[in-house]
């Protein structure tokens, strides 16, 4: 009998119940979309912030001191220490390997360019190198991804063809070369000559604009340093630093065992640097503060912004839902009055009303959930060009929230219904 009454109400009051379902569906879709976007926004913005380039630089442990004292870093064939190129794949095997987005090694030397012997810095690096890892995976990495702010006129140089090059805009101006030309250079103090084809001219808006970039093996051969690199720039996704991370950055040994574990297993820039030093022998990894600090700052603000917008708009939409429910129940006072006159108890009346609304809400909620997923994907695709990761955690949250909202929204109306006197209602006033 109870279910027949519920079904009867749902069918007879089709239009009104449809309105309730629509409102619940809208509220749920809003909650689903906002929560999904909010939970994923940190990751997405973090990826966008990678446009600022490397946030960790890896150098040989003793090179900086040698260079500083004896000024050897620019001399050809210097006796400084180097990092091993073949070890770079290990960067993708550390604890936070998935957070290492890009990396590129470099080896520099001074050369005399062209017929006029213009003095310039020659940089050997990876442009877009295909790398097979010891784990069996493969990655593509290099400065093409790392230096996303470079504007290139022409093409990027080719790692597999060592006689290709890219010239900085200011240097290209000085030499009068453009994409497609060839440039000849010689190592000072030796007669090793090399000719490279310029694939593209880049404008970086920094000191690189006066440098010449070529594939790494060319410089290694020139300096007779096979398999060696002087510096690696790493771009990693990190968590904003806190007090623990600052203490650890100063001296990891000052932490207690538990603190050390927390620090090591969190993607702080200092923890990732530490792990890089563990896998690359004789290396020293330093966070680039300009990028690392600002990243954390902007990330925190964005997440807080989204959180507040989410909370406030959810509060708004839940008020909207409960409002509609109140209106919906109030207008049924006549029907309820009749029920009571026929001897229905208060409990039966409440049970009947609530089950009707809950059933309608459930239907609306399911539709709304999928609608919300659609909204989240639209936002993800339009803004970041990638799908928003779906978070299963959202479902129980939404169910709990909407259930609470429906209950809260029905309460004032139900209280009013209970105090109804059947005779007065049925009489019409």
């Amino acid at each position: 009998m109870f279910w027949r009454m519920v079904r009867g109400a749902l069918v007879r009051q089709g239009r009104k119940m449809f309105l309730v379902a629509v409102t619940v569906a809208l509220g749920v879709s809003l909650a689903t979309a906002m929560l999904n976007v909010m939970l994923d926004v940190g990751d997405k913005v973090n990826r966008e912030l990678k446009a600022y380039g490397a946030n960790i630089t890896v150098t040989p442990r003793s090179a900086s001191v040698l260079g500083e004292i004896y000024g050897l870093d620019t001399a050809p064939g210097a006796m400084g220490q180097y990092l091993q190129e073949e070890e770079l794949g290990k960067l993708k095997t550390i604890f936070w390997a998935n957070n290492i987005v890009d990396f590129a090694p470099s080896l520099e030397t001074r050369v005399a360019l062209g017929p006029a012997g213009t003095n310039a810095v020659l940089v050997g690096t990876w442009f877009n190198r295909h790398l097979s890892l010891p784990t069996g995976e493969t990655v593509d990495t290099g400065i093409q991804q790392l230096k996303s702010w470079w504007s290139v006129d022409g093409n990027w140089a080719d790692d597999t063809n060592v006689n290709t090059a890219m010239v900085g805009a200011i240097l290209a101006d000085k030499l009068g070369v453009k994409a497609g030309d060839t440039v000849e250079f010689v190592l000072p103090g030796s007669d090793k000559r090399e000719t490279v084809t310029v694939r593209g001219i880049f404008s970086a808006g920094g000191p690189e604009d006066e440098e010449l970039f070529v594939p790494l093996p060319l410089v290694q051969n020139l300096l007779n340093l096979p398999g060696k690199v002087a510096k690696v720039e790493v771009s990693a996704m990190t968590t904003p630093e806190n007090e623990l991370a600052r203490r650890a950055a100063h001296d990891p040994k000052s932490l207690s065992l538990k603190e050390w574990e927390t620090w090591y297993c969190t993607s702080y820039v200092s923890a990732i640097s530490y792990q890089i030093e563990e896998v690359i022998s004789g290396s020293r990894a330093k966070p680039v503060r300009q990028v690392a600090e600002s990243e954390g700052n902007i990330l925190e603000k964005t997440q807080l912004l989204m959180l507040l917008i989410t909370v406030l708009s959810l509060a708004g939409s839940s008020l909207g839902i409960s409002n509609l429910l109140t209106a919906g129940i109030m207008e049924r006072s006549r029907e309820i009055g009749l029920l009571k006159a026929l001897g229905a108890t208060n409990g039966a009346v409440i049970g009947l009303t609530l089950s009707e609304i809950m059933l309608t809400g459930l239907a609306g909620g399911i539709v709304g959930y999928f609608l919300g997923l659609g909204f989240a994907q639209i936002i993800g695709e339009t803004v970041f060009g990638t799908a928003i990761a779906l978070n299963v955690m959202v479902i129980p949250w939404v169910i709990a929230a909407v259930g609470a909202v429906i209950l809260a929204g029905s309460l004032p109306a139900i209280r009013m219904l209970l105090s109804l006197r059947p005779a007065a209602v049925l009489h019409g006033r």
Binding site: K16, L19, V22, T23, L26, G27, L30, A33, M34, V37, V41, V45, E48, L49, A51, Y52, I56, S64, E68, I69, S148, W149, S203, A204, G205, G206, P287, V288, R289, Q290, V291, A292, E293, S294, N297, I298, K301, L304, L305, M306, L308, I309, L312, S313, G316, S317, L319, G320, I321, L324, T326, A327, G328, M330, F375, I378, I379, T382, V383, F384
Partner: protein, 378 residues
């Protein structure tokens, strides 16, 4: 006659609102909530680029002024010429730098003379162990690499000497600077001290400028500066400026889309509430028709009711929405926002339009029905 008709309409609307107090309160609440979210979110959308732009300045200088041609130094009078070009309300900081070689313990090192107060504004990412110099005439800071090389800790004293000169100047090291960049190889002193030590008068090597501006505005500034004085070549720091453009653009697009989605849903929510409130009055419409009211008159009355509700709720929402946006801004960015009359006006119009339109649909359906059928109860 016409006046009288409109007065009657006014009275009917007013009475309808007053007599059905509880229902109208619900509708008013719905409209007000909708308008709050609308005006609040639009304000945030307009405000985010401005506020976020300020946050992005923590990446440091986005404009560098360098000497023209082959000159090594920027003359002080050339720098003073650009003062009027950069708007002071957007300028975060301008840090002058004078670079040259000096000696500490007979070791050649790079000296950077600067203005510490400005450096704090332009490069907030510097990590300083110890303190920033308080009396710049006798206190300095060292880059981390330099400090390691010299084995100096904050609090110790070092003797600075210009290269080629035997006269030393005793300075106290107050802090060690860590940036992960080339700054770690420098010694930082006050600009005045560096100029005295090196004998360069009032000249500097470069000026780092941090200003809230997008790339187009930055380009305009560089053109204005280059036009004002031939001695300065302004350069945009592309890595900072362009990346800011990209990331800020995405953030704004994100807030934009979120705003649109929330707006859409809020409007539908308001509309459904209004529909529910009006649908319930079908009997009243039937009665009016039976008494000889024209369809047009009934539609006009309900529209007037809806729009009055929309205006009242909208007004309430605009005020609440401002506080909503203020709360977000203060909590996220720690700054207050100014009241935007245009946004207030826009939200008011939107809330009146949405409420009015939401009333029309059920009234139209109701007026199409035969009065007798409605009055009989089905």
């Amino acid at each position: 006659m016409k006046m009288k008709k409109y007065r009657m309409l006014g009275i009917m609307i007013w009475n309808a609102l007053l007599r059905r107090r509880s229902r109208m309160l619900i509708a008013l609440l719905a409209v007000a909530i909708g308008a709050t979210i609308v005006s609040g979110l639009i304000t945030i959308y307009y405000d985010v680029p401005r506020q976020m732009g300020r946050e992005f300045r923590s990446y440091g200088a986005n404009l560098v002024l360098t000497p023209a041609g082959d000159k090594q130094l920027l003359p002080a009078e050339a720098v003073s010429k650009i003062n009027g070009i950069l708007p002071p309300d957007k300028l975060v900081g301008m840090a002058p730098y004078l670079y040259d070689r000096v000696k500490i313990n007979e070791q050649p090192l790079m000296l950077a003379g600067t203005d510490f107060q400005q450096v704090k504004k332009v490069s907030p990412y510097w990590q300083v162990r110890g303190q920033w110099p308080e009396s710049p005439a006798e206190e300095i800071m060292l880059g981390a690499e330099t400090a390691e090389l010299l084995q100096v800790e904050p609090g110790q004293e070092v003797t600075l000497a210009a290269s080629g000169s035997e006269l030393g100047r005793k300075m106290k090291v107050t802090g060690i600077v860590r940036t992960g960049g080339s700054e770690e190889n420098f010694i930082f002193t006050d600009l005045k001290v560096a100029q005295q030590l090196l004998g360069t008068q009032d000249n500097i090597s470069v000026m780092q400028v941090s200003i809230i501006a997008n790339e187009a505005e930055l380009t305009a500034f560089t053109q204005a500066i280059a036009g004002a004085t031939p001695d300065i070549v302004p350069r945009i720091v592309k890595r900072v400026a362009q990346s800011e453009e990209t990331v800020l653009g995405k953030l704004q697009a994100l807030v934009y889309l979120v705003t649109i989605v929330v707006l859409l849903l809020t409007m539908i929510c308001v509309a459904t509430t209004m529909m529910a409130v009006v649908t319930e009055r079908r009997k009243e419409i039937g009665l009016k028709k039976a008494l000889g009211a024209e369809n047009r008159g009934i539609v006009l009355e309900f529209l007037g009711e809806g729009m009055t509700l929309g205006a009242l709720g909208g007004l309430l929402g605009v005020v609440l929405g401002f506080f909503f946006a203020q709360a977000v801004s203060v909590n996220v960015f720690g700054r207050e926002i100014s009241f935007q009359p245009f946004i207030a006006f826009l939200s008011l119009v939107v809330s009146i339009a949405v409420t009015g339109a939401a009333c029309l649909i059920p009234v139209k359906i109701a007026t199409d029905v035969e009065p007798a059928i409605v009055l009989r109860g089905e």
